[in-house]
């Protein structure tokens, strides 16, 4: 019998903080890229998407971890999918009920959380072999790490592409050409390739800050 661990031991905390740096699902593991390109045109949907994924990753890891000793190994993927799908539908219904506009903007990408590689990845890699509580923390951490990158990308895309943040105008109206100024929004930032370029730049910055990530 091992000693009883405190709930927020250093080890558990590390599970939560690691995805923000050396274990980030997007910039290090390069998972969940597709939705990162699709929902980051504006900040608001990006935050909602980040929260949704965090909730789904956390609770699906938790539930699978609870069931981990009873799931037959050969059908585990199907069981995982059922759990994830149920959670995604819950999240989808909640979004439709409370933030309908954002849910419309996110459209199919909420449903596609089911196929988000991060969720299946955490379940397979962590929840199946660990206790429920660490799994929950690990899931939340990875979801939040994913959300963080989404927010960074969306910040730049909305600021440069639309001149606003959360739909509030940041670049003054008088700067624009239509009002006699010189400024124009960068149309490329609204297109998905810009998200890819921004992600690349974020990975670049991340790797130059954290030398451990560089391959020798």
């Amino acid at each position: 019998m091992s000693e009883k661990e405190p709930l927020f031991s250093a080890k558990n905390l590390k599970l939560f903080t690691d995805p923000f740096n050396a274990g980030n699902p997007i910039t290090v593991l390069v998972l969940g890229i597709c939705s990162a390109l699709a929902v980051t045109v504006k900040l608001q949907p990006a935050i909602v998407m980040g929260l949704s994924v965090t909730v789904v990753t956390g609770f699906s890891s938790f539930i699978i971890s609870l069931l981990r000793n009873t799931i037959p190994n050969r059908i585990r993927i199907i069981v995982q999918l059922v759990v994830v799908a149920a959670l995604v539908i819950l999240v989808d219904q909640l979004l439709k009920a409370y933030v309908y506009e954002v849910s419309k903007q996110l459209s199919v990408f909420v449903g596609l959380i089911i196929t988000n590689c991060i969720i299946m990845g955490r379940i397979e890699a962590f929840a199946l072999g660990n206790k429920p509580f660490p799994s929950l923390i690990d899931g939340f951490g990875n979801g939040a790490g994913y959300g963080m990158i989404l927010v960074i990308v969306a910040f730049f895309r909305e600021l440069l592409g639309s001149g606003s943040l959360f739909g509030i105008r940041i670049v003054p109206e008088s700067f624009y050409v239509s009002a006699g100024g010189f400024y124009e929004n960068n149309g490329m930032m609204v297109l998905p390739p810009a998200a890819l370029i921004l992600l690349g730049v974020i990975i670049w910055v991340h790797r130059s800050v954290n030398n451990k990530l560089l391959e020798k």
Binding site: F182, E184, N186, G187, M188, M189, L191, I197, G200, W204
Partner: protein
């Protein structure tokens, strides 16, 4: 000159290792080799060096671009005064265009070289002359009225995302100058879509490309006008004569591959004649050689498709690469109403495919030789 040399020699020690300003060694080195031919000699074998180093290659390309630049400046003035109906002397026309084009050229060089210097400094590399050509091409493929901050942004994007992240000069996948244009094209499409172009303040006219795309073949300028370049368009692309002068110099000095240029022309004409034979729309039935005279295809083929870094490297590959550029440009122009001009996107696309083409050419060569060996050993 001697004064300059003396001054450089005087400040040189402080840039050497251990000197006060040793951190800025690459900046100093860059300026020194820009002003004087480096006098370093080889210390070990082998001692044979080609005099055609990077600096000279780049200088020749810049020289080849000069006719386009000068004509472009004149043409800016010409288009302006033609639309305002004024009669102006040659010099006044040129001066008008010179004042319009010079700021773009300066911005492109200052921003681009600034970033190059900064990166070389941080990485401890030597500064090389690659950007001298890119910085000259960027203004030539921009429309005249493009705001300077957009030029600065596009240049920065091209140098950082297009070149430095891949490791600097010689490592890039795409032609940096075209990347700068593509950046403006996708970011600020109202300025550079290729169908309308600035001719005078507050007035923009249709380019031959948009006339052709609209099926107004009879509205096209005469072939002679398009050849000599008395047409509206991006600054350096209009005069095919100036481009030919540049091409002649590049081919004569052996810097640009004549195979790419030749097969590019062949691809354009081949595809255009094919469409001509099929027929169906006025654009398809247009005189095939018009495709070579319109838009930026000629400029792209001579100066950008032949970029020795981003084009195909194998000799067979160059034929395929050039031919595909020519043929695809015609296809995009004729069949894609969203893009009046396809030269930029096609060259970038074929830049992407160039390594693949090379790979298969090399593979085919290996297979051919293996088969030959096998046959011989059977006998």
């Amino acid at each position: 000159m001697k004064l300059l040399r003396k001054f450089l020699d005087k400040i040189k020690p402080s840039f050497e290792k251990g000197g006060r300003l040793s951190k800025f060694h690459s900046t100093f080195e860059g300026f020194e080799s820009f002003l004087f031919v480096p006098d370093t000699v080889t210390r070990q074998a082998c001692h044979i060096r080609d005099s055609m180093d990077m600096k000279r290659t780049m200088s020749v390309v810049v020289l080849a671009l000069v006719p386009c630049l000068l004509f472009g400046m004149w043409n800016v003035g010409f288009q302006h005064f033609r639309s305002t109906g004024e009669e102006q002397a040659l010099l006044a026309t040129f001066w008008f265009g010179f004042l319009k084009v010079l700021p773009i050229l300066l911005v492109s060089y200052i921003v681009g070289l600034g970033i190059e210097f900064a990166f070389a400094q941080v990485r401890g590399h030597e500064i090389n002359e690659g950007f001298l050509v890119t910085g000259m091409i960027i203004p030539l493929i921009m429309p005249v009225e493009v705001p300077l901050w957009m030029v600065a942004l596009a240049t920065a994007f091209a140098v950082i995302i297009g070149k430095e992240i891949f490791g600097g000069t010689g490592m890039n996948i795409w032609n940096p100058a075209l990347l700068a244009r593509a950046f403006v094209f996708f970011s600020y499409p109202t300025h550079i879509s290729g169908d309308k172009v600035w001719v005078a303040d507050g007035y923009s006219g249709a380019t031959p490309l948009s006339d052709a795309a609209a099926g107004l073949i009879q509205k096209l300028p005469s072939a002679c006008d398009m050849f000599f370049g008395f047409i509206p368009g991006s600054i350096g692309e209009t005069s095919k004569l100036a481009i030919l002068l540049g091409a002649a110099l590049l081919i004569f000095t052996g810097i640009a591959s004549w195979k790419i240029m030749f097969s590019g022309v062949a691809g354009t004409l081949g595809m255009a004649y094919l469409l001509n034979a099929v027929g169906g729309s006025p654009y398809m039935e247009m005189e095939p050689y018009y495709h070579l005279l319109m838009g930026g295809l000629a400029f792209g083929l001579v100066f950008m498709a032949t970029d020795p870094v981003s084009s195909a490297q194998t000799e067979t590959g160059k034929w395929i690469y050039g031919f595909m550029i020519g043929a695809l440009v015609v296809v995009i122009r004729v069949f894609n109403p969203a893009y009046p001009e396809g030269a930029m996107l096609v060259i970038l696309l074929m830049n992407t495919f160039a390594p693949l083409i090379d790979h298969y050419v090399v593979e085919a060569n290996i297979r051919r030789r293996t088969n030959r060996g096998r046959k011989l050993s059977k006998k």
